[in-house]
Symmetry: D3
């Protein structure tokens, strides 16, 4: 099976990192294709960034569907454009926040999210509530490292580890969720260090995508997620018009 992992920001080095995390969690028989969006922000750290990442993301998903993808993972913790992707992808589409939170409640009572900038914390909480996990999400904690500095800041890992430890203490939670695709490489070692499950959304999403495909499940075409009605599009996004 082919699982496409789309990095909806336009930074290729982050895609490489994500690809590694995705491949580590893929089962035998699964091919992971990692894709970088061709337009939009270099990193996603605001609602504005998120909104403007979606056209590039949709393009990648449409192309992936046309070239054999059996499932798609959107590798940004804000889960941008998820509903729109579901309408046009052939197979199931998973967001990494969504997948991480689903996995987290399967291995513990309550989870803490450790994210990048504090400004993204309320969004993570909002997603938890929207997905049904308001009671399980015990807190969201920021480490105040911008997304693109996760790769370059020599103190990044230590800062994140400290935020994780503090989160467990403050929230009395039993599971950690890493709140950024760029932290995918840290989950295993943080779990060893902290003695709790540390959920990386990239791995969780790849696993759940596989699970859905193996079970023969894809997005429902009854109602909300049916293929969008064909219509005219104007201006620079004109090529997105579906026939």
């Amino acid at each position: 099976m082919i699982v496409d992992v789309v990095n909806p920001n336009t930074t290729g080095s982050m895609t490489a990192l994500v690809a590694e995390g995705a491949r580590a969690a893929a089962g035998p028989g699964t091919t992971v294709r990692a894709v970088t969006s061709r337009s939009g922000p270099a990193s996603i750290e605001s609602h504005y960034d998120e909104a403007l990442a979606v056209p590039g993301l949709l393009e990648a998903v449409l192309e992936g569907s046309a070239t054999g993808a059996d499932a798609h993972v959107v590798a940004c913790f804000g889960d941008p454009g998820l509903d729109a992707c579901r309408e046009v992808a052939r197979g199931p589409v998973l967001g990494i926040a969504e997948a991480a939170m689903h996995a987290a409640v399967l291995v513990g009572r309550s989870f803490s999210v450790v994210t990048t900038l504090a400004r993204t914390a309320p969004r993570a909480r909002e997603l938890a509530v929207r997905y049904g996990f308001g009671e399980h999400c015990a807190g969201v904690h920021a480490c105040e490292i911008p997304v693109l500095e996760l790769e370059t800041d020599p103190l990044a890992r230590a800062t994140i580890a400290a935020a994780c430890a503090r989160a467990l203490d403050d929230d009395d939670s039993d599971v950690l969720v890493l709140g950024c695709a760029g932290m995918t490489d840290l989950a295993a070692s943080l779990s060893d260090e902290l003695g709790v499950p540390v959920v990386d959304g990239v791995a969780a999403a790849v696993g759940m995508a596989q699970a859905l495909v193996l079970a023969g499940l894809s997005t429902s075409r009854r109602g909300e997620y049916a293929r969008p009605p064909a219509k005219a599009y104007a201006g620079e996004l004109q090529r997105f018009a579906l026939r």
Copy 2:
């Protein structure tokens, strides 16, 4: 005060209709500027349409803010891009679903939404829940008229009126909410006919925008809605990069 009403689809005739509804609800001393998005779908009837309407909407909001808008109304019942608009607009930003639902719970116990296509009904319900009105939203009903046919279908008003009457009966609700900006001209006469408050989101949003401005309130810049961090943007949306 200047209130910008942005039609995030690219159909100018609909903007004209919306402008009329907006002006009727504006108080003395308020100038309503009606704006049509320059790129994206001709009408918004799917998550896909919604997502691809947002860049054009953001452009209109950025321009409006730069040219004196004190508040902004996003005139599509899916409330696309609301959070992103809030980050970059100078004044408050209101969605019409949001404003309509807020108004509805102030004049009754429970409301029914009458919307266009059935595929948009779950989205309306989701918004009600997200805004805190899950207990107040008694039902969402579709009249199955596409957005752009609201203006042209000679039976549109009768069909909508019938859906409204059925909604009140089925849901035991006491307020109606019209689920599309293109229905703005129907609220008053439907209210007379049905004997209940019928909320048009355009009017509600203009009124609430005025209320916030008069009270000296605008989107908080503490945390989530602070101005987005400056960063590089790649590809065709490059010009959206904030400095």
Copy 3:
């Protein structure tokens, strides 16, 4: 349009303060009439006070409706008698807690309430939950200044400002709501000082009342809020019997 602002306690000096706040938020073309209840407690600081303020409040609303009020604002943060007022007023009726919370969620993600006595804090929380804003209300904080000392205590403003600052820190919220009509004069300066929107319920309620009237909306007469059935009343409240 005429908006009646009723102070449901019997302290005239507080009405004067409230009138000022209300007029500052009224648009051109709106006349604010400020009314003091003729019977009941000098201030409202308990459920007992609240319950016993309602007959005087209802009297004021009935009189206001009979003399041309287009909308009514109940200027006590406990929102006493709101449902009863709605049944008998000609136009819409807004409580200041209700209006403040509605405004707060339109300009931020989560709000903290700063109120007078600690004993009223759970009531504020209860109202937030009842109105649908349980997830948005991040905390309620008391400054332990009795209502009537807000006007006389020289340290009142400083104490409230300190409570506001603490609330933002403790709750990680981005909007403040002032939990007493008697704080209406502080909103603007506290907002300047603290750098976040500070919502005064009096201003918010006047603005929302205007918005509803401009949109042609008033309380539904279908079902719960229909005019109460006529019936006999006994004892000292006999004159309240509706025909």
Copy 4:
């Protein structure tokens, strides 16, 4: 132990009926004192009636507390003035809607309420949600018999029985709750007829009042329900001022 059952409307014949229901559910060693309010509406069928019943109710509770009542039951299904009563009563105070709903969830999965006028149905639903039983309350059904006609309408029992049967079918519930103190005499025979538990709030409240007293529990005086602060009262309700 002495349990006061206060009928907050001013109709003595209804008090007599309620007294009987209360005594039937009282254990050995419990004296039930039934009290009729001295001022306010002859029956409670609106928020307006409810609000204006509260002063008379508070008077009865204050007198009862001063003359030895160990607990108080407020015998109106809208639970008027409950919080205020709790602040000034010596012992615990139970509303009959509250007690009925508590009892209902202890003997089944979900309950249907059968009430008098349709206009009171949303209030019953609101109480269920407020008490925490939104998920358990499967529906509220009106029989459209005014409160005072429950005693005189020869078809009342049959109409109520039919509404109960319909409620079980429509709601797929397993418990019924009678939504008016004036239905207290019907619970046992309806239960026999319908084969499900039928909860009368008067009996439930007396039983729970006893349970609390036997367990040594009364309303907390820490915080919200502490005795109200002493203060001046103006106008006709002046005598309610607490010292």
Copy 5:
């Protein structure tokens, strides 16, 4: 009336303690029969213990029903096997966590639970949510004393009292709930010491069981709690097969 109080662990000395608490809360005319389970764990401190206590508990309830019990109390704060007991008992069945939480919300706004081991705290929170009291349950605090050491640890009472005081402060609650049947003897003195209602679930459950019986209420036989279908049982639990 006969109320059976079943201790679902197999430690007789704890049953004796529970019996005393139960009898103190029983009204005149009520006989309390205290029963110790014959199989399973010596104390219940995990989901595993809870699950394995249920067969012994069911045996005790079946025997009690056959020998005249009018109601049953399950004296473990995890409320093990409650639904199963309800299906097979003749009269109503109360769990002590359930009863304690019901009582707590009747005498205050919000309660804190003080329990034994920290590992049981999330379970207490889960029960609060399941019963509808998620908004009322302000916190759950552990004193880290194993169940069986409650009777032997000379510092147990002091440790629990300290946890109670801390809970009130941390949670801003106004009622305490003791989270273990083995704390039944402490409620009265802790209430005196701390000045708030302290709810012991054993007393609360006995009182509520009486209330239900006096009101003629028992578990509904319509639907979920009807007698289980007869069927074959295999292996060592074979004798549990119902005919």
Copy 6:
């Protein structure tokens, strides 16, 4: 990887069916071991059955963990004993209701459950709420076929298909969930017939178990799900005592 699928009822033919469904959803490299409980009910159709199935289930999970199972699936839609299994299993443990509901919300907006006997429907609803999917679960429908007749009743498939079609219509849902392990063989053909995703919990659980194992995740040992404290067990379940 080894995934143990435990049938917690004692009917071997049903285990065989379940094994087939499980194997069909397992990825390459996964060995499914299907196990039948050695004690308890022949089928699970009540809370009583469920409770008495748990000792046999725990035995199977303990044995499986000791013999190399990397994950466990509990193949009964009531998810019996899940928390207890999690405390003692080496790897993650999935219930089939839990897994099915998780999968359902990933491929649609709202799901309907089609279950066996009506008496189990409220339990399915309760699980949906407990897992966070109360808003997504649009309805639970019974086909009134006892569990063991699913295999023998020649009309079973047709009856279930009809219930599924009715559920989609009544609930306006877009996904179906089969509410019994014994329906595992029907999912694919029903999905073809009805044109919506039909989720079989057995397949979903196997897939999610694999996803968790591949992501290196297992039940947290911090807090609630730590290994239970060692202690004495009395009576016939004595051998369950952990050291």
